[in-house]
Amino acid sequence: MAAPQVPLTVSQRLGAILTWGGAAAVLFFLLVPIFAIVPLSFSSGNFLTYPLPGFSLRWYEELLTSDKWLPALRNSMIVGVSATIAATVLGTLASIGLNRARLPFKPVVMGLLLSPMIVPVVITAIGVYFFFAPLGLSNSFSGLIIAHTALGAPFVVITVSATLAHFDIGMARAAASLGAPPLTTFFRVVLPLIMPGVASGALFAFATSFDEVVVALMIAGPEQRTLPREMFSGIRESINPTITAVATVLILTSVVLLVCLELLRRRSERLMTGAN
């Protein structure tokens, strides 16, 4: 791809320097908060300032022994996993249905299914707040799980639909023509091929729930305080080093999620090119 080596003009060189310099500065801006908060979690001091007085794991100890953070993590996992399962099952079925036939009003249906992603969360939150209270769903896990399922399902619909767009329907037809019942075709042929899309949708749905705080602020009771909810009050009231330990754990979680997504993307590419 190398273009013939022409010496760069001054302005071209200037342009390159500006681009690289600008990009480096912006990437620094993007990454510095993340890298600045991690070392503080290993500080032996009480204050969130540099230089660190010394190294210690006391904030992680605090995290593991507190009666606040572990229950919050447990609540987040309960809500996140349940909402992810519900969103993934509902979203995958819906995407397959949308992909399979030319349904009337398809754009309207699609718009409705994706709308939880577009409407500002605070509106969803107050809608749910008014609506769930008379049904006895506020201050309950079920209410939070229902709301998070609605917020996460659009991501599943998008990722699975994207995968299905490249899916070779001939595969399913071949299975059916060889005598496989529809369910067998689905579980043995279709699902394995669209699995990367389903899994990335699930990861998106989980990440959405795991980081959601506005709905949790509105409808979660003291028994359902999630990790983001605790972090919100932690930052608002008195930010202490335990929060940096929580933050470090969450950063690690997002690194793991990111790696999983990248692996899924590669697998999906392989599967799709292999299918052709």
């Binding site: 993007l30 699609m110 809608g127 972090m231 933050a247 950063i251």
Partner: protein, 424 residues
């Protein structure tokens, strides 16, 4: 629309038997197609129902609350009925006062007066005490001079404006909250006027929301450009690495990033230390709990939403045009502005709209790193819902935010198609 394929296959047949078989086949095909549709709909239905029940209905309920007005009519039904014929020119008839006396006595007995008092207080400050006092000491409905009895309680009962407010709140529907959300109200004669200056806050909030969102959008565009450009021009390996560097913060919890900015921007934080050390400032300056903090943290959160669409547009731009422009003698800067930039426009527009749409709905970041004067529309929606329990106002502000978002999203989806939002 369904059976074009079947028609196409069958039309060449000329043989009579085949035609009969063809018709049967056609019917069967049509049935099969219908079955497929039913099956497909069966697959979509669960999520559709779920979204309708758990999301669309609650939002419809919120919109309903922004126009619903039943608190006063449920507490003071006789007064409202008696006020129906009142034109507003002079004080209402004695009938109205007697009805009010009965209603208020009953409200006191049932303990419902406060709901009506609260609703009327939204309209005119001080109405709460007016109603509560009247409920406590309601004159008997059989009083000879009932008007004088009310006025003796509080002179405001002798003012037209008081009764106009009650009539305005008679429901069952009202435009009171929606008008209030844009600083308008009905006056005693019913025409729409601006609210008094001391109560006009929402246009200010709306303006601030737009201003912050616009600044954040422009900052993001400015900052996203070099990164997206580099990503689109570098070989795959470098581009991938850059992408990971962009996606890592993108995937990091919003609260983690906000906490990080609180730590960085505080008075003893790294940024202040660095500025003092470099001699830019003599003493730490306030960088957080004001608009600087809001802009920095929001730009940080939303920047990836600008980089990703910009990158995908730039990646599709062929380098030939730039080379042609330069080889034809255009200085690189001119070629950039006249040839490259116009090709980026779809990405720029998509990124800007996306960031702006996301920004106007922001709540968490301004709530945590902003000062009292930097709170955006969402903050007031949440505030009226949970803190001051003025659900009509919360819903009306929500309706304004929802309408704005929908209009902008309509433009966005025209531009890039559905589903690209939030996914990059």
């Amino acid at each position: 629309m369904i059976n074009q394929g079947a028609d196409g296959e069958l039309s060449p047949s000329t043989d009579g038997n085949a035609a009969i078989g063809g018709r049967a086949l056609k019917a069967r095909l049509r049935r099969a197609e219908r079955m497929r549709k039913v099956a497909a709909f069966g697959l979509v239905a669960p999520l559709l129902l779920f979204v309708i029940v758990s999301f669309a209905l609650p939002i419809a309920g919120m919109l309903w609350r922004s126009v619903e007005d039943t608190e006063v009519s449920s507490v003071m039904p006789r007064t409202i009925a008696a006020l129906k014929g009142w034109g507003g020119q002079d004080l209402p008839s004695e009938e109205v006062y007697r009805a009010a006396a009965r209603d208020l006595a009953e409200a006191r007995a049932n303990g419902t007066a406060s709901a009506a008092a609260r609703r009327l207080n939204y309209d005119i400050n001080g109405f709460r005490t007016l109603i509560m006092t009247a409920a406590r000491k309601a004159p008997s409905a059989d009083e000879a001079d009932i008007r004088a009895a009310f006025v003796a309680l509080d002179a405001r009962w002798g003012e037209r404006e008081t009764w106009a407010a009650v009539k305005r709140a008679s429901g069952p529907l009202t435009d009171f909250y929606l008008l209030a959300a844009v600083d308008l109200q009905h006056d005693a004669s019913g025409s729409i006027v601006h609210v008094p200056e001391e109560r006009a806050i929402y246009l200010d909030v709306l303006g601030r929301t737009f201003r912050i969102s616009l600044t954040v959008t422009l900052l993001s565009l400015f900052m996203a450009f070099p990164v997206a450009y580099l990503m689109s021009t570098q070989p795959a390996k470098v581009a991938n690495l850059l992408m990971i560097l962009v996606l890592l913060p993108f995937w990091t919890s919003l609260l983690v990033r906000t906490a990080a900015w609180v730590v960085l921007l505080q008075n003893e934080g790294l940024v202040n230390r660095l500025l003092v050390w470099m001699g830019v400032i003599d003493a730490p300056i306030r960088l957080i709990y004001n608009s600087i903090g809001v802009h920095v943290a929001m730009t940080h959160v939303l920047l990836p939403f600008m980089i990703l669409p910009l990158y995908s547009t730039m990646k599709a731009i062929k380098p030939h045009y730039m080379r042609a422009a330069i080889s034809l003698g255009a200085p690189p800067a001119v070629a950039f502005v006249r040839v490259y930039l116009p090709q980026c426009l779809p990405g720029i527009a998509a990124g800007c709209l996306l960031v702006f749409i996301l920004a106007i709905g922001y709540y968490i970041t301004p709530a945590l790193v902003g000062g009292a004067g930097d709170q955006m529309l969402s903050y007031f929606i949440a505030f009226y819902t949970t803190d001051s329990v003025n659900w009509g106002m919360a819903s009306a502000l929500g309706a304004v935010l929802l309408a704005t978002t929908m209009v902008l999203y309509g433009v966005y989806s025209r531009l890039v198609g559905d589903g690209a939002i939030k996914m990059g």
